[in-house]
Amino acid sequence: MAAPRTQNRIIRWIDYRLPVFSYLDHELNEYPTPRNLSYWWNFGSLAGFMLVTMIVTGIFLAMYYTPNVDMAFDSVERIRRDVNYGWLIQYIHMNGASFFFIVTYIHIFRGLYYGSYKNPRELLWILGVIILLLMMATAFMGYVLPWGQMSFWGATVITNLFSAIPKIGNAIVTWLWGGYAVGNPTLNRFYSLHYLLPFVIVAVVMLHVIALHQHGSNNPLGIDRKGPQDSIPFHPYYTIKDMFGLGVFLILYAAFIFFLPNYLGDPQNYIPANPLVTPPEIVPEWYFLPFYAILRSVPDIWFIPSKLAGVICLFGSIGVLFVLPWLDTSPVRSARFRPIYKWFFFVLVVDVVALGVCGAHRPEGTYIVIGRLATLYYFFHFLILLPLLGKMERPRPLPASIGAAVLKGGAVSAE
Protein backbone atom coordinates (compact mmCIF):
# COMPACT_ATOMS: atom_id res chain seq x y z
CA MET A 1 0.00 0.00 0.00
CA ALA A 2 2.77 2.39 0.81
CA ALA A 3 2.92 3.97 -2.60
CA PRO A 4 6.14 5.96 -2.48
CA ARG A 5 7.99 2.91 -1.20
CA THR A 6 6.26 0.38 -3.38
CA GLN A 7 8.16 -1.64 -5.93
CA ASN A 8 5.24 -1.83 -8.33
CA ARG A 9 6.34 0.18 -11.37
CA ILE A 10 2.84 0.82 -12.65
CA ILE A 11 1.77 2.31 -9.33
CA ARG A 12 4.94 4.41 -9.22
CA TRP A 13 4.35 5.58 -12.80
CA ILE A 14 0.80 6.66 -12.06
CA ASP A 15 1.67 8.16 -8.69
CA TYR A 16 4.41 10.31 -10.20
CA ARG A 17 1.81 11.91 -12.44
CA LEU A 18 -1.36 11.65 -10.36
CA PRO A 19 -0.50 11.21 -6.68
CA VAL A 20 -3.62 9.32 -5.66
CA PHE A 21 -1.62 6.55 -4.02
CA SER A 22 0.55 8.97 -2.09
CA TYR A 23 -2.59 10.75 -1.03
CA LEU A 24 -4.28 7.56 0.21
CA ASP A 25 -1.07 6.52 1.92
CA HIS A 26 -0.85 9.88 3.60
CA GLU A 27 -4.49 10.03 4.67
CA LEU A 28 -4.89 6.42 5.77
CA ASN A 29 -1.55 4.80 6.39
CA GLU A 30 0.53 7.61 7.81
CA TYR A 31 -2.42 9.63 9.10
CA PRO A 32 -1.63 9.90 12.78
CA THR A 33 -4.62 9.21 14.99
CA PRO A 34 -4.87 9.56 18.75
CA ARG A 35 -4.14 6.19 20.29
CA ASN A 36 -7.03 6.45 22.75
CA LEU A 37 -10.12 6.74 20.50
CA SER A 38 -13.08 4.87 21.97
CA TYR A 39 -15.97 3.22 20.15
CA TRP A 40 -17.79 6.57 20.21
CA TRP A 41 -15.42 7.48 17.37
CA ASN A 42 -16.91 4.79 15.14
CA PHE A 43 -20.00 6.72 14.23
CA GLY A 44 -18.47 9.09 11.70
CA SER A 45 -17.40 6.26 9.44
CA LEU A 46 -20.75 4.54 10.06
CA ALA A 47 -22.50 7.69 8.84
CA GLY A 48 -20.29 7.60 5.75
CA PHE A 49 -21.26 3.98 5.21
CA MET A 50 -24.94 4.87 5.50
CA LEU A 51 -24.55 7.71 3.01
CA VAL A 52 -23.12 5.30 0.44
CA THR A 53 -25.80 2.71 1.24
CA MET A 54 -28.57 5.26 0.75
CA ILE A 55 -27.14 6.51 -2.53
CA VAL A 56 -26.63 3.02 -3.97
CA THR A 57 -30.05 1.67 -2.98
CA GLY A 58 -31.64 4.98 -3.97
CA ILE A 59 -30.20 4.81 -7.47
CA PHE A 60 -31.73 1.35 -7.94
CA LEU A 61 -35.08 2.44 -6.51
CA ALA A 62 -35.12 5.44 -8.85
CA MET A 63 -35.01 3.03 -11.78
CA TYR A 64 -38.51 1.81 -10.83
CA TYR A 65 -40.07 4.77 -9.06
CA THR A 66 -42.54 7.00 -10.94
CA PRO A 67 -42.84 10.59 -9.67
CA ASN A 68 -46.46 11.21 -10.57
CA VAL A 69 -49.32 11.64 -8.10
CA ASP A 70 -51.37 8.98 -9.89
CA MET A 71 -48.59 6.41 -10.12
CA ALA A 72 -46.12 7.08 -7.29
CA PHE A 73 -47.85 4.98 -4.63
CA ASP A 74 -48.41 2.05 -6.98
CA SER A 75 -44.86 2.22 -8.30
CA VAL A 76 -43.51 1.89 -4.75
CA GLU A 77 -45.89 -1.02 -4.07
CA ARG A 78 -44.69 -2.59 -7.30
CA ILE A 79 -41.08 -2.27 -6.12
CA ARG A 80 -42.06 -4.03 -2.89
CA ARG A 81 -44.04 -6.81 -4.54
CA ASP A 82 -42.90 -7.40 -8.11
CA VAL A 83 -39.36 -6.12 -8.63
CA ASN A 84 -36.70 -8.74 -7.95
CA TYR A 85 -35.42 -8.11 -4.40
CA GLY A 86 -37.28 -4.80 -4.53
CA TRP A 87 -38.60 -5.46 -1.02
CA LEU A 88 -35.02 -5.76 0.20
CA ILE A 89 -33.73 -2.66 -1.56
CA GLN A 90 -36.72 -0.62 -0.47
CA TYR A 91 -36.47 -1.76 3.17
CA ILE A 92 -32.73 -1.10 3.20
CA HIS A 93 -33.41 2.42 1.95
CA MET A 94 -36.45 3.09 4.14
CA ASN A 95 -34.84 1.84 7.36
CA GLY A 96 -31.55 3.28 6.20
CA ALA A 97 -32.91 6.78 6.76
CA SER A 98 -33.56 5.92 10.41
CA PHE A 99 -30.20 4.28 10.91
CA PHE A 100 -28.42 7.14 9.17
CA PHE A 101 -29.99 9.50 11.69
CA ILE A 102 -29.24 7.19 14.64
CA VAL A 103 -25.51 7.13 13.87
CA THR A 104 -25.49 10.84 13.02
CA TYR A 105 -27.19 11.83 16.28
CA ILE A 106 -24.76 9.67 18.27
CA HIS A 107 -21.92 11.25 16.28
CA ILE A 108 -23.22 14.72 17.20
CA PHE A 109 -23.68 13.95 20.89
CA ARG A 110 -20.18 12.46 20.90
CA GLY A 111 -18.94 15.81 19.62
CA LEU A 112 -20.92 17.64 22.30
CA TYR A 113 -19.58 15.48 25.13
CA TYR A 114 -15.94 15.61 24.12
CA GLY A 115 -15.96 19.21 22.92
CA SER A 116 -15.03 18.26 19.36
CA TYR A 117 -16.40 21.57 18.10
CA LYS A 118 -13.80 23.68 19.88
CA ASN A 119 -10.75 25.43 18.48
CA PRO A 120 -9.35 24.46 15.99
CA ARG A 121 -12.32 22.37 14.81
CA GLU A 122 -15.05 25.02 14.55
CA LEU A 123 -15.40 24.77 10.76
CA LEU A 124 -15.34 20.99 10.95
CA TRP A 125 -18.31 21.24 13.30
CA ILE A 126 -20.14 23.84 11.19
CA LEU A 127 -19.74 21.68 8.08
CA GLY A 128 -21.26 18.86 10.13
CA VAL A 129 -24.27 21.02 11.01
CA ILE A 130 -24.67 21.83 7.30
CA ILE A 131 -24.63 18.09 6.57
CA LEU A 132 -27.31 17.61 9.22
CA LEU A 133 -29.51 20.26 7.60
CA LEU A 134 -29.03 18.71 4.16
CA MET A 135 -29.84 15.28 5.59
CA MET A 136 -33.04 16.60 7.13
CA ALA A 137 -34.14 18.18 3.85
CA THR A 138 -33.27 15.02 1.92
CA ALA A 139 -35.05 12.73 4.38
CA PHE A 140 -38.14 14.92 4.42
CA MET A 141 -38.41 15.00 0.62
CA GLY A 142 -37.70 11.28 0.39
CA TYR A 143 -40.54 10.59 2.80
CA VAL A 144 -42.93 12.42 0.47
CA LEU A 145 -42.09 10.24 -2.54
CA PRO A 146 -44.18 7.10 -1.71
CA TRP A 147 -47.18 9.44 -1.76
CA GLY A 148 -49.00 7.83 1.17
CA GLN A 149 -51.17 9.73 3.60
CA MET A 150 -48.25 10.70 5.84
CA SER A 151 -46.21 11.69 2.81
CA PHE A 152 -48.88 14.06 1.62
CA TRP A 153 -49.87 15.54 4.96
CA GLY A 154 -46.30 15.71 6.20
CA ALA A 155 -45.44 17.67 3.07
CA THR A 156 -48.45 19.91 3.59
CA VAL A 157 -47.60 20.64 7.23
CA ILE A 158 -43.89 21.20 6.72
CA THR A 159 -44.24 23.41 3.65
CA ASN A 160 -46.90 25.42 5.52
CA LEU A 161 -44.25 26.27 8.12
CA PHE A 162 -43.10 28.94 5.72
CA SER A 163 -46.54 30.57 5.72
CA ALA A 164 -45.66 31.83 9.21
CA ILE A 165 -43.27 34.33 7.67
CA PRO A 166 -45.05 37.70 7.75
CA LYS A 167 -46.14 39.32 4.47
CA ILE A 168 -44.39 37.02 2.00
CA GLY A 169 -45.13 33.68 3.67
CA ASN A 170 -48.05 32.70 1.47
CA ALA A 171 -46.17 33.56 -1.71
CA ILE A 172 -43.24 31.40 -0.57
CA VAL A 173 -45.51 28.46 0.15
CA THR A 174 -47.16 28.72 -3.28
CA TRP A 175 -43.69 28.89 -4.81
CA LEU A 176 -42.66 25.75 -2.92
CA TRP A 177 -45.75 23.89 -4.08
CA GLY A 178 -45.84 25.09 -7.66
CA GLY A 179 -49.64 25.05 -7.36
CA TYR A 180 -52.59 25.71 -5.09
CA ALA A 181 -51.60 22.89 -2.76
CA VAL A 182 -49.11 20.04 -2.48
CA GLY A 183 -49.53 18.25 -5.79
CA ASN A 184 -47.82 16.84 -8.82
CA PRO A 185 -45.39 19.76 -9.32
CA THR A 186 -44.39 19.45 -5.66
CA LEU A 187 -43.81 15.72 -5.98
CA ASN A 188 -41.70 16.18 -9.10
CA ARG A 189 -39.44 18.85 -7.63
CA PHE A 190 -39.05 16.91 -4.39
CA TYR A 191 -37.98 13.87 -6.39
CA SER A 192 -35.47 15.92 -8.36
CA LEU A 193 -34.01 17.44 -5.19
CA HIS A 194 -34.10 14.14 -3.30
CA TYR A 195 -31.83 12.74 -6.01
CA LEU A 196 -29.58 15.81 -6.06
CA LEU A 197 -29.04 16.58 -2.37
CA PRO A 198 -27.23 13.35 -1.42
CA PHE A 199 -24.49 14.29 -3.86
CA VAL A 200 -24.31 17.74 -2.30
CA ILE A 201 -23.95 15.92 1.03
CA VAL A 202 -21.07 13.90 -0.46
CA ALA A 203 -19.35 17.15 -1.40
CA VAL A 204 -19.80 18.65 2.07
CA VAL A 205 -18.65 15.37 3.63
CA MET A 206 -15.44 15.69 1.62
CA LEU A 207 -14.90 19.17 3.07
CA HIS A 208 -15.77 17.75 6.50
CA VAL A 209 -13.07 15.08 6.10
CA ILE A 210 -10.51 17.58 4.79
CA ALA A 211 -11.18 19.78 7.81
CA LEU A 212 -10.92 16.71 10.05
CA HIS A 213 -7.59 15.64 8.63
CA GLN A 214 -6.13 19.13 9.03
CA HIS A 215 -5.85 18.74 12.80
CA GLY A 216 -6.83 15.09 13.17
CA SER A 217 -9.47 13.57 15.38
CA ASN A 218 -10.29 14.89 18.80
CA ASN A 219 -10.09 12.19 21.48
CA PRO A 220 -11.74 11.19 24.76
CA LEU A 221 -9.23 13.25 26.73
CA GLY A 222 -9.77 16.30 24.56
CA ILE A 223 -6.08 17.22 24.67
CA ASP A 224 -3.83 17.68 21.66
CA ARG A 225 -1.37 15.06 20.51
CA LYS A 226 2.06 16.08 21.65
CA GLY A 227 4.25 13.59 19.89
CA PRO A 228 4.52 10.21 18.20
CA GLN A 229 3.92 8.42 21.49
CA ASP A 230 0.36 9.82 21.44
CA SER A 231 -0.51 8.55 17.96
CA ILE A 232 -1.00 5.36 16.02
CA PRO A 233 -1.50 5.13 12.25
CA PHE A 234 -5.13 5.05 11.13
CA HIS A 235 -4.51 1.86 9.19
CA PRO A 236 -4.68 -0.89 10.37
CA TYR A 237 -5.66 0.10 13.90
CA TYR A 238 -8.77 2.15 13.23
CA THR A 239 -9.74 0.53 9.93
CA ILE A 240 -10.06 -2.70 11.91
CA LYS A 241 -11.88 -1.00 14.75
CA ASP A 242 -14.24 0.69 12.30
CA MET A 243 -14.90 -2.61 10.55
CA PHE A 244 -15.67 -4.39 13.81
CA GLY A 245 -18.09 -1.60 14.73
CA LEU A 246 -19.61 -1.82 11.27
CA GLY A 247 -20.21 -5.55 11.80
CA VAL A 248 -22.06 -4.92 15.07
CA PHE A 249 -24.02 -2.08 13.48
CA LEU A 250 -24.99 -4.21 10.47
CA ILE A 251 -26.40 -6.92 12.75
CA LEU A 252 -28.75 -4.38 14.29
CA TYR A 253 -29.58 -2.77 10.95
CA ALA A 254 -30.24 -6.15 9.32
CA ALA A 255 -32.46 -7.16 12.26
CA PHE A 256 -34.73 -4.25 11.42
CA ILE A 257 -34.59 -4.79 7.66
CA PHE A 258 -35.51 -8.46 7.88
CA PHE A 259 -37.62 -8.73 11.02
CA LEU A 260 -39.04 -5.29 11.85
CA PRO A 261 -39.04 -3.47 8.52
CA ASN A 262 -42.06 -1.32 9.33
CA TYR A 263 -41.45 -0.86 13.04
CA LEU A 264 -40.01 2.64 12.60
CA GLY A 265 -42.54 3.70 9.97
CA ASP A 266 -46.12 4.88 10.17
CA PRO A 267 -48.92 2.53 8.97
CA GLN A 268 -50.77 5.58 7.64
CA ASN A 269 -48.24 5.75 4.86
CA TYR A 270 -49.57 2.50 3.41
CA ILE A 271 -52.77 4.38 2.57
CA PRO A 272 -52.55 6.29 -0.74
CA ALA A 273 -52.47 10.06 -0.36
CA ASN A 274 -55.92 11.60 -0.13
CA PRO A 275 -56.04 15.40 -0.32
CA LEU A 276 -59.59 15.37 1.10
CA VAL A 277 -58.90 13.50 4.37
CA THR A 278 -56.25 14.32 6.96
CA PRO A 279 -55.27 11.31 9.12
CA PRO A 280 -56.32 11.60 12.79
CA GLU A 281 -52.72 12.26 13.82
CA ILE A 282 -49.86 13.70 11.83
CA VAL A 283 -46.56 12.49 13.20
CA PRO A 284 -43.22 12.91 11.47
CA GLU A 285 -40.64 10.15 11.40
CA TRP A 286 -39.03 9.57 14.79
CA TYR A 287 -35.84 11.44 13.89
CA PHE A 288 -37.78 14.69 13.51
CA LEU A 289 -39.88 14.33 16.67
CA PRO A 290 -37.76 16.58 18.97
CA PHE A 291 -37.87 19.37 16.41
CA TYR A 292 -41.57 18.81 15.85
CA ALA A 293 -42.14 19.14 19.60
CA ILE A 294 -40.27 22.44 19.67
CA LEU A 295 -42.41 23.67 16.78
CA ARG A 296 -45.64 22.90 18.61
CA SER A 297 -44.59 23.91 22.12
CA VAL A 298 -43.93 27.58 21.69
CA PRO A 299 -46.74 29.93 22.85
CA ASP A 300 -47.27 33.53 21.77
CA ILE A 301 -44.21 35.56 22.70
CA TRP A 302 -45.06 39.23 23.10
CA PHE A 303 -46.07 40.40 19.66
CA ILE A 304 -44.84 37.26 17.88
CA PRO A 305 -47.72 34.85 17.27
CA SER A 306 -47.26 31.26 18.37
CA LYS A 307 -47.12 29.98 14.79
CA LEU A 308 -44.19 32.20 13.82
CA ALA A 309 -42.47 31.73 17.18
CA GLY A 310 -42.65 27.95 16.74
CA VAL A 311 -41.05 28.14 13.33
CA ILE A 312 -38.34 30.50 14.59
CA CYS A 313 -37.54 28.14 17.46
CA LEU A 314 -37.54 25.13 15.13
CA PHE A 315 -34.91 26.69 12.89
CA GLY A 316 -33.21 28.25 15.90
CA SER A 317 -32.71 24.82 17.45
CA ILE A 318 -30.38 23.97 14.56
CA GLY A 319 -29.13 27.51 14.14
CA VAL A 320 -27.81 27.57 17.67
CA LEU A 321 -25.51 24.69 16.80
CA PHE A 322 -23.76 26.86 14.21
CA VAL A 323 -22.56 29.26 16.89
CA LEU A 324 -21.95 26.61 19.54
CA PRO A 325 -18.13 26.87 19.26
CA TRP A 326 -18.39 30.45 20.47
CA LEU A 327 -21.17 29.90 23.00
CA ASP A 328 -19.10 27.36 24.91
CA THR A 329 -16.51 29.50 26.64
CA SER A 330 -14.66 26.71 28.40
CA PRO A 331 -11.18 26.04 27.01
CA VAL A 332 -11.40 22.41 28.18
CA ARG A 333 -12.77 20.11 25.52
CA SER A 334 -13.62 16.79 27.11
CA ALA A 335 -16.47 16.54 29.60
CA ARG A 336 -14.29 14.11 31.53
CA PHE A 337 -12.53 17.10 33.00
CA ARG A 338 -15.61 19.28 33.34
CA PRO A 339 -17.43 18.01 36.45
CA ILE A 340 -20.48 20.27 36.07
CA TYR A 341 -20.84 20.32 32.28
CA LYS A 342 -20.76 16.53 32.31
CA TRP A 343 -24.09 16.44 34.18
CA PHE A 344 -25.69 19.12 32.09
CA PHE A 345 -24.69 17.16 29.00
CA PHE A 346 -26.78 14.24 30.24
CA VAL A 347 -29.59 16.63 31.12
CA LEU A 348 -29.50 17.76 27.49
CA VAL A 349 -29.70 14.15 26.29
CA VAL A 350 -32.71 13.50 28.52
CA ASP A 351 -34.18 16.83 27.39
CA VAL A 352 -33.95 15.91 23.71
CA VAL A 353 -35.46 12.48 24.38
CA ALA A 354 -38.28 14.15 26.32
CA LEU A 355 -38.87 16.47 23.36
CA GLY A 356 -39.02 13.40 21.14
CA VAL A 357 -41.66 11.82 23.38
CA CYS A 358 -43.69 15.04 23.36
CA GLY A 359 -43.42 15.20 19.58
CA ALA A 360 -44.91 11.73 19.33
CA HIS A 361 -48.02 12.68 21.33
CA ARG A 362 -50.83 15.08 20.76
CA PRO A 363 -50.09 18.44 22.37
CA GLU A 364 -52.49 18.23 25.30
CA GLY A 365 -52.27 18.07 29.08
CA THR A 366 -48.86 17.31 30.53
CA TYR A 367 -47.28 16.95 27.10
CA ILE A 368 -47.73 20.68 26.56
CA VAL A 369 -46.07 21.46 29.88
CA ILE A 370 -43.21 19.01 29.37
CA GLY A 371 -42.77 20.17 25.77
CA ARG A 372 -42.53 23.80 26.79
CA LEU A 373 -40.14 23.15 29.66
CA ALA A 374 -37.97 20.94 27.48
CA THR A 375 -37.89 23.55 24.71
CA LEU A 376 -36.96 26.18 27.26
CA TYR A 377 -34.15 24.03 28.62
CA TYR A 378 -32.79 23.30 25.14
CA PHE A 379 -32.19 26.98 24.46
CA PHE A 380 -31.18 27.69 28.06
CA HIS A 381 -28.50 25.00 27.75
CA PHE A 382 -26.88 26.49 24.67
CA LEU A 383 -27.53 30.20 25.08
CA ILE A 384 -27.11 30.76 28.81
CA LEU A 385 -25.63 27.71 30.53
CA LEU A 386 -22.68 27.05 28.24
CA PRO A 387 -21.37 30.67 28.19
CA LEU A 388 -21.65 30.92 31.98
CA LEU A 389 -20.37 27.45 32.78
CA GLY A 390 -17.09 28.05 31.00
CA LYS A 391 -16.41 30.93 33.35
CA MET A 392 -17.75 29.44 36.56
CA GLU A 393 -16.73 25.80 36.35
CA ARG A 394 -13.40 24.60 37.72
CA PRO A 395 -12.10 21.88 35.42
CA ARG A 396 -10.15 18.91 36.70
CA PRO A 397 -6.43 18.89 35.94
CA LEU A 398 -5.64 17.68 32.44
CA PRO A 399 -3.15 14.84 31.92
CA ALA A 400 0.27 15.80 30.60
CA SER A 401 -0.26 13.89 27.36
CA ILE A 402 -2.42 11.21 25.79
CA GLY A 403 0.39 8.73 26.11
CA ALA A 404 0.88 9.57 29.79
CA ALA A 405 -2.80 9.11 30.53
CA VAL A 406 -3.17 5.91 28.52
CA LEU A 407 0.01 4.19 29.54
CA LYS A 408 -0.20 5.35 33.16
CA GLY A 409 3.49 4.75 33.81
CA GLY A 410 4.49 7.64 31.57
CA ALA A 411 4.93 8.31 27.88
CA VAL A 412 7.26 5.50 26.94
CA SER A 413 7.58 5.35 23.21
CA ALA A 414 5.66 2.34 22.02
CA GLU A 415 6.58 2.70 18.38
Binding site: F60, D82, V83, N84, Y85, G86, P236, L407, K408, A414
Partner: protein, 218 residues
Protein backbone atom coordinates in the same frame (compact mmCIF):
# COMPACT_ATOMS: atom_id res chain seq x y z
CA UNK B 1 -4.58 -0.90 27.57
CA UNK B 2 -1.41 -1.17 29.63
CA UNK B 3 -0.58 -4.46 27.96
CA UNK B 4 -0.28 -2.91 24.54
CA UNK B 5 2.99 -1.34 25.48
CA UNK B 6 4.56 -4.63 26.45
CA UNK B 7 2.92 -6.68 23.71
CA UNK B 8 5.03 -8.02 20.89
CA UNK B 9 5.23 -5.72 17.89
CA UNK B 10 2.60 -6.39 15.26
CA UNK B 11 3.75 -8.91 12.73
CA UNK B 12 6.25 -10.51 15.06
CA UNK B 13 5.63 -14.19 14.60
CA UNK B 14 7.67 -17.27 14.13
CA UNK B 15 8.69 -19.06 10.96
CA UNK B 16 6.87 -19.54 7.66
CA UNK B 17 3.81 -21.19 9.13
CA UNK B 18 0.41 -19.53 9.10
CA UNK B 19 -0.19 -17.32 12.07
CA UNK B 20 -3.28 -16.30 13.94
CA UNK B 21 -3.08 -13.02 12.08
CA UNK B 22 -3.01 -14.73 8.68
CA UNK B 23 -6.02 -16.76 9.71
CA UNK B 24 -7.94 -13.70 10.84
CA UNK B 25 -7.09 -11.72 7.71
CA UNK B 26 -8.17 -14.60 5.46
CA UNK B 27 -11.41 -15.37 7.25
CA UNK B 28 -12.35 -11.70 7.61
CA UNK B 29 -11.59 -11.04 3.92
CA UNK B 30 -13.57 -14.11 2.86
CA UNK B 31 -16.53 -13.02 4.95
CA UNK B 32 -16.29 -9.53 3.49
CA UNK B 33 -16.25 -10.94 -0.05
CA UNK B 34 -19.27 -13.16 0.64
CA UNK B 35 -21.12 -10.24 2.21
CA UNK B 36 -20.37 -7.96 -0.72
CA UNK B 37 -21.56 -10.58 -3.18
CA UNK B 38 -24.68 -11.18 -1.08
CA UNK B 39 -25.70 -7.54 -1.37
CA UNK B 40 -24.46 -7.08 -4.94
CA UNK B 41 -26.65 -9.87 -6.31
CA UNK B 42 -30.02 -8.43 -5.18
CA UNK B 43 -29.04 -5.10 -6.73
CA UNK B 44 -28.02 -6.71 -10.02
CA UNK B 45 -31.02 -9.03 -10.11
CA UNK B 46 -33.39 -6.13 -9.47
CA UNK B 47 -32.64 -4.98 -13.01
CA UNK B 48 -34.03 -8.22 -14.48
CA UNK B 49 -37.71 -8.17 -15.54
CA UNK B 50 -40.00 -7.80 -12.52
CA UNK B 51 -42.70 -10.33 -11.68
CA UNK B 52 -45.48 -8.22 -13.22
CA UNK B 53 -43.43 -7.63 -16.35
CA UNK B 54 -43.00 -11.38 -16.73
CA UNK B 55 -46.69 -11.98 -16.00
CA UNK B 56 -47.57 -9.52 -18.77
CA UNK B 57 -45.70 -11.88 -21.13
CA UNK B 58 -48.30 -14.63 -20.67
CA UNK B 59 -49.77 -16.24 -23.83
CA UNK B 60 -52.39 -14.27 -25.75
CA UNK B 61 -55.31 -15.48 -27.89
CA UNK B 62 -55.73 -14.02 -31.37
CA UNK B 63 -58.85 -14.34 -33.53
CA UNK B 64 -57.71 -15.20 -37.05
CA UNK B 65 -61.13 -15.75 -38.61
CA UNK B 66 -61.01 -12.32 -40.27
CA UNK B 67 -57.58 -12.88 -41.82
CA UNK B 68 -58.31 -13.57 -45.49
CA UNK B 69 -55.85 -15.36 -47.82
CA UNK B 70 -53.09 -12.95 -48.87
CA UNK B 71 -53.67 -10.82 -45.81
CA UNK B 72 -51.41 -10.14 -42.83
CA UNK B 73 -52.11 -8.81 -39.34
CA UNK B 74 -49.80 -7.74 -36.57
CA UNK B 75 -50.28 -8.22 -32.86
CA UNK B 76 -48.02 -7.26 -29.99
CA UNK B 77 -46.80 -10.03 -27.69
CA UNK B 78 -44.09 -9.49 -25.10
CA UNK B 79 -43.53 -6.02 -26.59
CA UNK B 80 -42.67 -7.61 -29.94
CA UNK B 81 -44.61 -7.43 -33.19
CA UNK B 82 -46.00 -10.84 -34.21
CA UNK B 83 -46.86 -11.24 -37.91
CA UNK B 84 -49.77 -13.50 -38.73
CA UNK B 85 -50.13 -14.20 -42.49
CA UNK B 86 -52.64 -16.36 -44.32
CA UNK B 87 -50.87 -17.33 -47.53
CA UNK B 88 -52.69 -17.88 -50.82
CA UNK B 89 -52.66 -21.29 -52.58
CA UNK B 90 -50.37 -19.83 -55.31
CA UNK B 91 -47.88 -18.59 -52.74
CA UNK B 92 -47.90 -21.96 -51.01
CA UNK B 93 -47.36 -23.71 -54.34
CA UNK B 94 -44.29 -21.57 -54.99
CA UNK B 95 -42.89 -22.24 -51.52
CA UNK B 96 -43.53 -25.99 -51.74
CA UNK B 97 -41.83 -26.21 -55.14
CA UNK B 98 -38.55 -25.11 -53.56
CA UNK B 99 -37.80 -23.06 -56.66
CA UNK B 100 -36.27 -20.24 -54.67
CA UNK B 101 -34.32 -22.44 -52.27
CA UNK B 102 -30.90 -21.86 -53.91
CA UNK B 103 -31.29 -18.15 -53.24
CA UNK B 104 -31.99 -18.72 -49.53
CA UNK B 105 -29.49 -18.81 -46.75
CA UNK B 106 -31.15 -21.54 -44.70
CA UNK B 107 -34.01 -23.03 -46.79
CA UNK B 108 -34.46 -26.05 -44.52
CA UNK B 109 -34.61 -24.03 -41.30
CA UNK B 110 -31.60 -25.81 -39.85
CA UNK B 111 -30.76 -22.94 -37.51
CA UNK B 112 -32.71 -22.96 -34.28
CA UNK B 113 -35.09 -20.15 -35.11
CA UNK B 114 -38.29 -22.14 -34.59
CA UNK B 115 -39.71 -25.18 -32.82
CA UNK B 116 -39.54 -28.59 -34.48
CA UNK B 117 -43.20 -28.28 -35.42
CA UNK B 118 -42.33 -25.31 -37.65
CA UNK B 119 -39.19 -26.82 -39.14
CA UNK B 120 -40.74 -27.57 -42.55
CA UNK B 121 -41.10 -25.88 -45.93
CA UNK B 122 -43.98 -23.69 -44.73
CA UNK B 123 -42.41 -23.01 -41.29
CA UNK B 124 -45.79 -23.35 -39.56
CA UNK B 125 -48.29 -25.81 -38.06
CA UNK B 126 -50.91 -25.41 -40.79
CA UNK B 127 -49.31 -24.64 -44.19
CA UNK B 128 -51.44 -21.59 -44.96
CA UNK B 129 -51.10 -19.82 -41.59
CA UNK B 130 -47.68 -18.29 -40.91
CA UNK B 131 -46.79 -16.87 -37.48
CA UNK B 132 -43.49 -14.97 -37.13
CA UNK B 133 -41.73 -12.63 -34.74
CA UNK B 134 -41.55 -9.60 -37.02
CA UNK B 135 -38.09 -8.41 -36.04
CA UNK B 136 -35.26 -8.41 -38.55
CA UNK B 137 -32.40 -10.63 -37.36
CA UNK B 138 -29.92 -8.01 -38.53
CA UNK B 139 -30.40 -5.07 -36.15
CA UNK B 140 -33.96 -5.26 -34.86
CA UNK B 141 -36.02 -3.24 -37.36
CA UNK B 142 -39.49 -4.35 -38.40
CA UNK B 143 -39.65 -5.71 -41.99
CA UNK B 144 -42.60 -4.72 -44.14
CA UNK B 145 -44.98 -7.26 -45.67
CA UNK B 146 -44.71 -7.12 -49.47
CA UNK B 147 -46.23 -10.33 -50.91
CA UNK B 148 -46.44 -9.16 -54.53
CA UNK B 149 -43.46 -9.90 -56.78
CA UNK B 150 -42.40 -6.97 -58.95
CA UNK B 151 -40.16 -3.95 -58.76
CA UNK B 152 -41.28 -2.63 -55.36
CA UNK B 153 -39.87 -2.26 -52.80
CA UNK B 154 -36.70 -3.19 -54.78
CA UNK B 155 -35.81 -4.37 -58.28
CA UNK B 156 -36.65 -8.03 -59.02
CA UNK B 157 -38.57 -8.44 -55.77
CA UNK B 158 -39.79 -11.99 -55.34
CA UNK B 159 -42.42 -11.39 -52.64
CA UNK B 160 -42.01 -11.73 -48.90
CA UNK B 161 -40.75 -9.46 -46.15
CA UNK B 162 -38.45 -6.54 -46.77
CA UNK B 163 -36.52 -4.70 -44.09
CA UNK B 164 -36.27 -0.97 -44.88
CA UNK B 165 -33.32 -0.37 -42.56
CA UNK B 166 -30.57 -2.23 -44.41
CA UNK B 167 -32.38 -4.03 -47.22
CA UNK B 168 -32.61 -7.50 -45.76
CA UNK B 169 -35.02 -9.78 -47.64
CA UNK B 170 -37.11 -12.71 -46.44
CA UNK B 171 -39.42 -14.99 -48.42
CA UNK B 172 -43.06 -15.66 -47.55
CA UNK B 173 -41.98 -18.19 -44.90
CA UNK B 174 -39.69 -15.66 -43.25
CA UNK B 175 -36.55 -17.36 -44.64
CA UNK B 176 -33.70 -14.97 -45.23
CA UNK B 177 -32.19 -14.54 -48.71
CA UNK B 178 -28.49 -14.87 -49.41
CA UNK B 179 -26.40 -11.71 -49.80
CA UNK B 180 -28.30 -9.54 -47.33
CA UNK B 181 -27.04 -8.31 -43.96
CA UNK B 182 -29.51 -10.37 -41.89
CA UNK B 183 -27.91 -13.69 -40.85
CA UNK B 184 -30.91 -15.81 -39.86
CA UNK B 185 -34.53 -16.62 -40.69
CA UNK B 186 -37.25 -14.71 -38.84
CA UNK B 187 -38.05 -16.60 -35.61
CA UNK B 188 -41.34 -18.47 -35.19
CA UNK B 189 -42.84 -18.00 -31.71
CA UNK B 190 -44.50 -20.88 -29.87
CA UNK B 191 -48.20 -21.03 -30.73
CA UNK B 192 -51.03 -23.49 -31.08
CA UNK B 193 -54.58 -23.65 -32.37
CA UNK B 194 -57.23 -23.22 -29.70
CA UNK B 195 -59.82 -23.67 -32.47
CA UNK B 196 -59.87 -23.17 -36.23
CA UNK B 197 -60.39 -19.46 -35.74
CA UNK B 198 -58.28 -18.74 -32.64
CA UNK B 199 -54.56 -19.21 -32.12
CA UNK B 200 -52.75 -18.88 -28.80
CA UNK B 201 -49.37 -17.16 -29.12
CA UNK B 202 -46.82 -18.02 -26.48
CA UNK B 203 -47.93 -21.58 -25.82
CA UNK B 204 -46.69 -24.70 -27.64
CA UNK B 205 -48.95 -27.46 -28.94
CA UNK B 206 -49.10 -30.38 -26.52
CA UNK B 207 -45.91 -32.38 -26.47
CA UNK B 208 -43.50 -29.59 -27.31
CA UNK B 209 -41.42 -27.62 -24.83
CA UNK B 210 -39.93 -25.09 -27.23
CA UNK B 211 -38.72 -21.94 -25.50
CA UNK B 212 -38.52 -18.79 -27.60
CA UNK B 213 -35.57 -17.52 -25.60
CA UNK B 214 -33.56 -20.53 -26.82
CA UNK B 215 -33.49 -19.39 -30.47
CA UNK B 216 -30.23 -18.21 -31.97
CA UNK B 217 -31.44 -14.70 -32.40
CA UNK B 218 -34.58 -12.77 -31.67
Amino acid sequence: MAETAQAKPIGAHGGGEGTRRDFLVLTASALGAVGTAAIAWPLIDSLNPAADTLAAGAPIDVDISKVAPGMSIRVLWRSRPIFIVRRTPEELKLLESGKMNPELSDPDSKALQQADYARNWHRSIKPELLVLVGICTHLGCIPSFAPQPGNTPVENWEGGFFCPCHGSKYDLSGRVFRGVPAPLNLPVPPYNFVSDSVIRIGENPKGSDFDLSSVEQL
